[in-house]
């Protein structure tokens, strides 16, 4: 009875598996449960340090989408304490989905500037990145650039970018709409589309790679990618062929986006969760954000990493970041309407 033994083995294995390794994590004193849109590898160093400092164990699940929906569906029994996200639109989504609860924390309010947090404490930004241009060292002479200029016909056939429906580009286009209105933004987006060297595809690193190979002269990407590529044996060559230009809006600053934290509405380990959130904006964590992830720390006292500092001084655009998320749907619509990704 081969199949019988198999059945028995199945029962034992299933019981073991469900019972131990992947069993439901219940509320316990020494733990905090984090749902994250940030890749686990990237944030694990932070959690390890936090556990070392506080003795609180951090349980993690990471995904690229749907975690807010998962928390909402799990409802009152949800094990989620903290939601970590990478985009301000996602932070606002969490608020809209009703899965956030406000925090009263002097530590968070002091560390995070008002423009990088929710007015009622429903979310806090913990690090920043800017959407910038990786330009060919050989073929691009100018060292400054405006976002408006990306639509200038002088760049015809010279720009590379990932799909416009990607969250990073969505936020940039939303910021443009927030500043100039939809009609102007549409005209701009059509201009950028007309300048593209190829159909939008790939990720941010691929744009640097294509600039290095001479496929295009300007690649649109996030700041930390360039620094990360300098640490990578093959990708180092792409950084050697490119320079980072921090574009600005005409008369304004550079488009920045946030990674941030939300305290889940039904957080079973609320005290630990707040402790983790406060720790994340503390000096140690902010140094890790700056020096391992190459992001801009929100805590003013912590300096940016020297490689990132080498891009030039970042002047974030003055518009409140949260305003961007009001236009993310409009931005997505515009991408469809202009056929940007076709």
């Amino acid at each position: 009875m081969n199949a019988m033994t198999m059945r028995a083995a199945l029962c034992v294995a299933a019981a073991t598996l469900i019972g131990s390794a992947t069993g439901p994590v219940l509320a316990q004193s020494g733990e905090v449960n984090v749902y994250t849109y940030r890749e686990q590898k990237l944030i694990q160093p932070l959690f390890d340090e936090f556990s070392k400092a506080t003795g609180i164990k951090v349980n993690v699940v990471s995904a690229s989408s749907g975690l807010d929906k998962r928390i909402a569906t799990e409802g009152a029994n949800s094990p989620a304490d903290v939601l970590l996200t990478v985009d301000v639109a996602r932070l606002q989504d969490a608020v809209k989905a009703g899965i956030a609860q406000p925090i009263q924390s002097a530590v968070l309010d002091k560390a995070v500037p008002a423009q990088y947090r929710h007015p009622d404490g429903l979310w806090y930004g913990i690090s920043m990145r800017a959407r910038v241009v990786f330009a060919s060292k050989d073929r691009v002479t100018q060292n400054a650039l405006t976002y408006e200029e990306l639509a200038d016909p002088k760049w015809k056939g010279k720009i590379c970018i990932r799909p416009g429906q990607h969250a990073y580009n969505n936020a940039l286009i939303a910021a443009y709409i927030a500043k100039y209105g939809e009609a102007k933004a549409e005209e701009w987006l059509r201009g950028v589309k007309a300048n593209l060297a190829q159909k939008p595809s790939g990720g941010d690193r691929d744009q640097a790679r294509d600039v290095a190979a001479g496929k295009c002269d300007l690649g649109v990407a996030n700041t930390y990618y360039w620094a990360l590529m300098t640490k990578n044996p093959e990708q180092k060559a792409w950084t050697e062929a490119t320079k980072v230009i921090l574009p600005t809006f005409a008369g304004g600053g550079t488009h920045v986006n946030l990674s941030g934290v939300v305290l889940a509405k039904h957080a079973p380990n609320k005290a630990n969760a707040v402790k983790l959130m406060e720790w994340l904006v503390g000096e140690k964590a902010q140094h890790i954000y700056a020096d391992i992830n190459y992001e801009y720390p929100v805590l003013a006292e912590v300096p940016v990493n020297p490689i990132v500092a080498g891009y030039g001084k970042l002047t974030p655009d003055a518009m409140p970041v949260a305003k961007i998320s009001d236009y993310s749907k409009a931005a997505s619509t515009l991408v469809d309407k202009t056929g940007f990704d076709n």
């Binding site: 598996l17 439901p24 686990q40 699940v61 569906t73 029994n77 969505n170």
Partner: protein
């Protein structure tokens, strides 16, 4: 085999004998259909919450391009896999040429690669900065990639080739099994009658391969339709991708659910059409072993051409990506700086996939047996529903599954609170059980299809004889049905296992805290544009996947019931 005259009295007897026990199989089939319907119903519930405002926009700007891209992608992949799969299967079955014996088992290996990994690998090799174009520039003295035209890897044709080269084994395995068992006598007759090789293919081999082609192709097309990683990376705007952008960027989960529902209806309609088109085609399905077709030894240049034709897909779909990953693993020192967590993730992946496979096969066989017992419209409707999980994109399935799982858990909590005053938390939704349930629902179609095909080869008279000799239904299942359909089930189990190993989107969304599988582990590097850091994990998926795929070849060789005439007749 069974003539109509003979069949009739036997079937009457058959029905009479089984009637008393018809309740249990019916209930089983209904329960199975309910399991698959639960996430679909919750999906339709989400769609019902409505967002009519979004449709004019979708209809004007999104769906035309998405439909066109999807149609072209599906058509392209269908042609690529059909030509490659049937062509290579025919060559290794009908001819003897250098390397043929090795190629027989090398040809299915690309199945072990997830499509998105192959996409990353090829873009890495073929892009402007990749080794091929760099050499091209050096050779012809170009300074930059803007100075010449080179076929872009990140494009629709690129996607067709990359997806095709991974998925053609579905067609190859089915077609080869078909050629091996069905055609020897017919082929030899045709040959002695002086049919040229081309005539042989056109008039004998292809018509015979049609059912196999249909089954293999429907697996290929559903996989392609569900693909998200590769098509997004390659810039192909498929329907599945527009479900995502509608949900995430256009902020409309109901809209996304509506697109998904429409897609589901389209898939079901296509499946029904395909079955209707083959309703009169039932090939001889006896349990007898066929004499294999005598292979003709090729001579001259023909043998080398045959060898090259079979080698090309193996090189493209398996050897090159494998070399690339091995190279990255070595260059990056991934072996020495081995992530201590990786073995744990590997074990978890195999465990989850293994349990899900056993359950899926058990349920699939149960369903096939139940249908054999009770027959009728209700039974076959239940079986069709049980196969629907394969037609829904993974993330959509996962989203739909969340609500029923949580509802079950809340019910359980209510009971335990009432009886014992304690809460259990999320027993299903918060544990590995959620993943296993998702895998089972997703891949049940493979299990039911193969189990049915396996059973179809066992004449019902055999049941009746056993019955008259006093054997009970369960005894018949254990002692006749199971042993005789072992090969079909084995083949299906291996396919399900490999599919579970590679499953990414549902796993991402449903896995419990602190659990990674190999695909989710690779994914986090990929999303940072640093996919190569996950090369070792990718190699592990392939290594774990190869063993079943090799077994699959063996199964295909000895008893090719798996998937070949999966939906012959009903």
């Amino acid at each position: 085999m069974t003539s109509a005259a003979l069949r009739h009295p036997f079937e009457t007897l058959h029905a009479a004998l089984w009637r008393p026990s018809a309740l249990a199989p019916r209930l089983f089939l209904l329960a199975l259909a309910a399991l698959v319907l639960a996430p679909l119903a919750s999906l339709i519930h989400i769609a019902w919450q409505g967002d009519p405002d979004i449709w004019p926009h979708l209809a004007t700007y999104v769906l035309p391009a998405a439909l066109a891209d999807t149609a072209l992608l599906l058509a392209g992949v269908a042609v690529a896999t059909a030509v490659t799969g049937v062509g290579t299967a025919w060559l290794v079955t009908a001819y003897q040429f250098p390397g043929r014996d090795t190629l027989v088992w090398l040809l299915p290996l690309p199945l072990a690669f997830p499509t998105y990994i192959v996409a990353y690998v090829y873009v890495g090799m073929l892009d402007a900065a990749g080794p091929i174009q760099t050499a091209f520039r050096a050779l012809f003295g170009y300074q930059t990639a803007a100075q010449y035209w080179f076929p872009p890897a990140r494009s629709l044709p690129g996607a067709i080739l990359m997806i095709g080269v991974v998925l053609y084994p579905y067609v190859y395995l089915a077609a080869r099994a078909m050629f091996q068992t069905q055609s020897a006598a017919l082929m030899e007759v045709a040959r002695t009658l002086g049919a040229s090789p081309l005539m042989l293919v056109r008039h004998v081999a292809l018509p015979l391969a049609r059912p196999a082609l249909a089954v293999g192709l429907s697996l290929v097309l559903l996989e392609t339709l569900n693909d998200i990683g590769a098509s997004e990376y390659l810039g192909v705007r498929t329907l599945t991708l527009s479900i995502f952008t509608t949900w995430l960027n256009r902020g409309s989960l109901p809209g996304a659910a509506q697109i998904a529902s429409v897609m589901l209806i389209a898939v079901v309609a296509l499946m029904a059409l395909e079955r209707y088109g083959r309703r009169h085609r039932r090939f001889d399905a006896s349990a007898r072993r066929h004499r294999p077709l005598a292979r003709i030894a090729l001579g001259g240049s023909a043998r080398w051409i045959a060898c090259a034709l079979c080698l090309a897909p193996v090189l493209a779909g398996f050897v090159l990506p494998l070399i690339f990953l091995a190279h990255e693993t070595v260059v990056r020192g991934l072996l020495f700086g081995l992530d201590p967590e990786l073995p744990r993730h590997a074990v978890m992946t195999v465990l989850l996939a293994g349990i899900a496979t056993l359950l899926a096969i058990g349920l699939g066989m149960g369903a096939a047996l139940a249908v054999r017992l009770v027959r009728g419209r209700l039974a076959s409707a239940c079986l069709t529903i049980a196969g629907l999980g394969y037609a829904v994109p993974g993330t959509v399935l996962a989203l739909g599954l969340l609500a029923p799982l949580v509802a079950f858990d809340e019910g359980l909590n209510w009971i335990t609170r009432t009886l014992a005053g304690i809460s259990m938390g999320l027993v299903l939704a918060g544990s590995g059980a959620a993943l296993i349930i998702a895998y089972v629902i997703r891949f049940l179609a493979i299990a039911t299809g193969s189990a049915q095909a396996g059973l179809a080869r066992i004449p019902t008279q055999m049941d009746d004889v056993a019955r008259t000799l006093g054997e009970k239904p369960t005894g018949i299942a254990w002692r006749i049905h199971l042993p005789l359909s072992r090969a079909a089930l084995g083949g299906a189990a291996l396919l399900v296992f490999v599919d579970c190993l590679k499953e990414l989107p549902a796993t991402l969304l449903l896995r419990p805290l602190n659990v990674e599988t190999l695909p989710t582990y690779i994914y986090q590097f990929a999303t940072r544009g640093n996919f190569e850091e996950g090369a070792l994990a990718a190699l592990l998926i392939v290594a774990v996947g190869i063993i079943p795929v090799l077994r699959l070849t063996r199964f295909a060789d000895i008893a090719p019931a798996a998937a070949t005439n999966g939906s012959s007749g009903r």
